[in-house]
């Protein structure tokens, strides 16, 4: 059942807000423990519903870092920042891309086993 608070939820909201110049981060903080592993897919959905591609990607990286006050350390690949890096099999917004490797502060914390 749709929860009451979703009754008027419009999937174009992200696009509408970002078009007005509002700083916007995307998340998956849903019910049933919706997993943050799909945060890139929410960016893809935002694009499908009118959000600019670059802004959508920024909304899952640099923008949340700025909102949380940690943009000096994370959120973009830039000299001097923490080496928190994701390596994907394709474009980050490609729904079928898989995460191949994740580095945090330069150390490998995830490596995909079933390479296909």
């Amino acid at each position: 059942m749709p929860r009451l608070e979703y009754r008027h939820h419009d999937i174009r909201n992200a696009a509408i807000l970002s078009e007005k110049g509002i700083k916007l981060a995307l998340g998956v903080s849903g019910r049933d423990g919706a997993s943050s592993k799909f945060v890139a897919l929410t960016a893809a959905m935002a694009v499908a519903n009118g959000m600019d591609r670059d802004l959508a990607l920024r909304a899952v990286t640099l923008t949340p870092a700025e909102i949380l006050g940690v943009a000096d350390r994370i959120g973009s690949l830039q000299a001097g920042k923490d080496a928190d890096i994701v390596i994907l099999s394709g474009h980050p917004l490609d729904s079928l891309s898989r995460v191949e490797m994740v580095l945090i502060e330069g150390k490998t914390v995830f490596e995909r086993k079933d390479q296909q």
Partner: protein, 390 residues
């Protein structure tokens, strides 16, 4: 002079009549498309689809546009067949899911879900917006022997009858939700026994008498009406297969989420599976199941079970399944031709090929990308949805 004017008025009048007759339903439509996902005949690049009288008249690369045809230029778009939601509860104005099941009765095979359907409901628009053109409207899973699902087109043009099948089968449920405190059955064993008893009585009942549910069940035991059996867990699916074997039913497994664990047994019986929605909240293990089932040779279709899912989008299920191991082509077929065949409407729907209904979805990118959005939906050759803005 007066006479001359009158004559020319007549000429204008008659020519406008001619226009009206050629501009009505019989005007053909030509869609130029960047990519056509035919689903039965591969992908055609820079092709044309000719639609006449609501049917696809031709599709291919080098096709002449008939004179007087209305041309839709979609040369930078993707066109695919209208998607088919193999089980959902939309248009039933369900706020508390109250109208789906007759929970006081255990046997409700004579109930027709179509009697509760409103084709102009909000969620019907939502389904259209996501590219779904045909749905199997279904009762829920709380009746051991449930009502009759229907196959309907979401044609809001008001030009055609939207009902493809009023009685598309009979629903059965082996799920725990079919057990109630205040009516029998109250146990899993009792549930299976009750279903068998009903089927036995339908089989034994030759002359009938006045028993509407039994009349319907007779057609199920004669295998000329499919049994749609809700069974989610491995044990529920095993029970379903035992019943199918014993009564030689023509059956489809509904919401068989754990079917991968006994996929070979399902494949051996040639039972199609209607797969429940994959969501962003699904676990990795569950996301891989649809692919495993299909890889075992089981024919698969997706179901939104809407309005239980928050944001209606059938395509997301197929994309997530593809991301987790379902072959891309099979993923698309599960949304279209395979679903059509499972629901018994494969002769009319599910692919872009000559003679089929002109139910088409136009997207601004690859159908298996979440970044792609549905820009236009056509049913029976009529534009029933067009995306605003851009």
């Amino acid at each position: 002079m007066k006479k001359g004017r009158f004559l020319s008025f007549l000429v204008i009048l008659s020519s406008s009549f001619c226009l009206a007759s050629s501009g009505g339903e019989s005007q053909s439509l030509a869609i130029r498309a960047g990519k056509i996902w035919t689903l039965t005949d591969g992908v055609i690049t820079n092709g044309v689809i000719i639609v006449d009288n609501g049917k696809i008249q031709a599709v291919g690369e080098n096709i002449d546009v008939p004179e007087g045809a209305k041309v839709l230029d979609m040369s930078d778009k993707n066109v695919m067949p209208g998607m088919i939601d193999a089980h959902c509860h939309i248009g039933l104005s369900l706020d508390i899911l109250a109208e789906m099941d007759e929970t006081v009765a255990a046997v409700a095979a004579d109930m027709q879900i179509l009697d509760a359907f409103n084709p102009h409901a909000d969620d019907v628009r939502k389904a259209l917006r996501s590219g779904v053109t045909t749905v199997m409207l279904a009762p829920g899973y709380r009746n051991p022997v449930g009502g009759q699902p229907a196959v309907v087109k979401l044609d809001t043009s008001k030009a055609n009858d939207w009902v493809l099948k009023r009685t598309a089968g009979v629903e059965f449920s082996l799920m725990n939700q079919a057990l109630m405190f205040d009516r029998e059955p109250t146990s899993r064993t009792g549930l299976v026994a009750l279903i068998k008893e009903e089927l036995d009585q339908a089989k034994a009942d030759k002359d009938g008498g006045f028993n509407p549910p039994r009349e319907v069940l007779k057609r199920v035991v004669d295998a000329n009406l499919p049994a749609y059996i809700w069974a989610h867990t491995v044990d529920e699916i095993a029970s379903a297969m035992a019943i199918v074997d014993e009564y030689k039913l023509n059956a489809v497994l509904v919401a068989a989420g754990q079917g991968d664990e006994i996929a070979d047994m399902i494949a051996k019986r040639n039972l199609p599976v209607i797969y429940p929605p994959l969501l962003l909240s699904s676990r990795d293990k569950d996301l891989k199941r649809a692919g495993k089932i299909a890889n075992s040779g089981v024919k698969l279709a997706f179901a939104s079970l809407a309005p239980k899912t928050d944001l209606y989008d059938l395509r997301t299920s197929a994309i997530l399944a593809a991301k987790y191991g379902l072959d891309k082509e099979t993923a698309l077929k599960s949304l279209t031709i395979n679903a059509a065949e499972i629901l018994g409407v494969g002769d009319r729907l599910g692919s872009i090929s000559e003679g089929k209904d002109a139910d088409l979805v136009i997207l601004n990118g690859d159908p298996l990308q979440l970044t792609s959005s549905v820009e236009m939906v056509i049913i029976n050759g009529n534009i029933v949805y067009q995306r605003q803005g851009e």
